[in-house]
C-alpha cells in the first residue's frame, strides 16, 4: 500500500503497523514524535496503530535550534 511519510510517497506491506515503519527506518522510538493524519500519537500506541492506504505520517525529532 502507498502512504505519505514525511511528505513523500512510500510503499509498505498491507499489514504494516506503525512500529514496522519505525524499525524499517532504523529509528529508536524513544527519540521520535509521530503524527498520523494530524493525530499525535503516544509512544505506547506505536505497536498498535495499523497503517492504511494514503495515511499521512510525520516522524519528527528535536534538532539543534535557537
Amino acid at each position: 500500500m502507498n502512504i505519505y511519510l514525511n511528505g513523500k510517497s512510500e510503499a509498505f506491506p498491507e499489514s504494516a503497523v506503525l512500529m514496522n515503519i519505525i524499525k524499517s527506518k532504523k529509528l529508536s522510538p524513544d527519540t521520535i514524535i509521530v503524527e498520523i493524519n494530524g493525530k499525535i500519537l503516544k509512544k505506547n500506541e506505536y505497536r498498535l496503530i495499523p497503517i492504511r492506504e494514503n495515511d499521512k505520517i510525520e516522524i519528527l525529532r528535536f534538532v539543534g535550534g535557537g
Binding site: 519528527l60 525529532r61 528535536f62 534538532v63 539543534g64 535550534g65
Partner: protein, 257 residues
C-alpha cells in the same frame, strides 16, 4: 542573597539560555552547557532525515537541562500550536518558545499570530515564552494572553549586530510585569552585559556563541558578562552627570590658591 529567576513554576539561577543550533559538531554542546552554566537550552522540531538518522540532538544535551522547544517553521498561530503539542508529547515538559515567522529575509516575528498562539497554549497549560519584536502593545497583549515571559529581539536572528533595539527594550523592562528575556541578535558579551545592566531578566544566545572562533570560551565569556551585568543592576548603577564631579577632595591642596 538568592537571585533566582522564576519562569512558570520553575526557578533558574543562571540567566543565560543557550541555543543548540549552528555548531560545527553537536558533540561540543555538553562543553558549551558546562562553560555557560546554562540551565535551559532551546531545540527545534523537524522531520527526521532518514538519510541522516544519527542527528539526535538530545543525546548531546545533559539530562538535567530544561529543554525549551521552539516553534520555528511555524508561519501562523495554528502551526505554532501544532508544533508545541507535538513537542510536549515527547515528555520533556511544557515549556515552549513561540516563534512565528513569515519573513524569510529578516526573520522578524509576526506579533499578532504570536499573541494568538500564546493565548491558546497558555490556556492548555504550557509555559509560554514568546519571541517578538520589542513592541509594547504586543507585549501587553502577551501579558493578558498568559505568557510566562516576553522575549524581544535585540537585532535580527543570526546577525550578531547587538542592541539595535535598546530603547524599545528599555520600555518593555519598565512597563511589562513579566521577565524580559532578550533573544536574538546579541553578538558580544558586552551586549549581554548591557542588557542585564538595563534590568532584563535573562539573555538567550545561539549564533554569538556558535559562530565564535572558540565557542566554549565564548560561552564562558557570556556567562561572566551576564553575571556581571546582573550584579551591576542589583548593585544600582550610579547616576550620570553632564558635568565633572571630582573624585578627590577639593580642599587641602598643596598650594595656596
Amino acid at each position: 542573597m538568592s537571585d533566582k529567576l522564576k519562569i512558570g513554576n520553575k526557578y533558574i539561577t543562571n540567566r543565560l539560555i543557550t541555543g543548540s543550533g549552528k555548531y560545527s559538531i553537536n558533540s561540543i554542546i555538553p562543553d558549551i552547557v558546562n562553560a555557560s552554566g546554562c540551565e535551559v537550552v532551546t531545540v527545534a522540531l523537524r522531520r527526521v532525515d532518514f538519510d541522516f538518522k544519527d542527528n539526535n540532538i538530545l543525546k548531546h544535551i545533559p539530562k538535567n537541562i530544561q529543554l525549551l522547544p521552539n516553534t520555528s517553521g511555524a508561519r501562523n498561530a495554528d502551526e505554532a500550536v501544532r508544533i508545541a503539542e507535538l513537542s510536549r508529547t515527547f515528555g520533556c515538559g511544557d515549556w515552549i518558545k513561540i516563534e512565528v515567522i513569515n519573513d524569510n529575509k529578516y526573520l522578524l516575528p509576526d506579533g499578532y499570530e504570536t499573541v494568538k498562539a500564546t493565548e491558546i497554549l497558555a490556556n492548555r497549560g504550557f509555559t509560554v515564552l514568546p519571541y517578538i519584536n520589542p513592541d509594547l502593545i504586543i507585549a501587553r497583549d502577551l501579558v493578558n494572553a498568559g505568557a510566562a515571559a516576553v522575549m524581544p529581539l535585540a537585532a535580527p536572528i543570526g546577525t550578531n549586530k547587538g542592541l539595535m533595539t535598546e530603547g524599545l527594550i528599555e520600555i518593555l523592562i519598565d512597563e511589562i510585569p513579566l521577565p524580559i528575556i532578550v533573544d536574538a541578535g546579541i553578538g558580544k558579551p558586552s551586549d549581554a552585559c548591557k542588557v542585564m545592566e538595563m534590568g532584563a531578566a535573562a539573555c538567550l544566545l545561539n549564533t554569538a556563541i556558535a559562530s565564535a572562533k572558540n565557542p566554549v570560551l565564548m560561552a564562558k565569556a557570556f556567562f561572566r558578562a551576564i553575571k556581571a551585568g546582573r550584579e551591576a543592576y542589583l548593585a544600582g548603577l550610579g547616576k550620570t552627570s553632564d558635568y565633572a564631579k571630582a573624585s578627590s577632595p577639593l580642599t587641602g591642596f598643596l598650594y595656596n590658591s
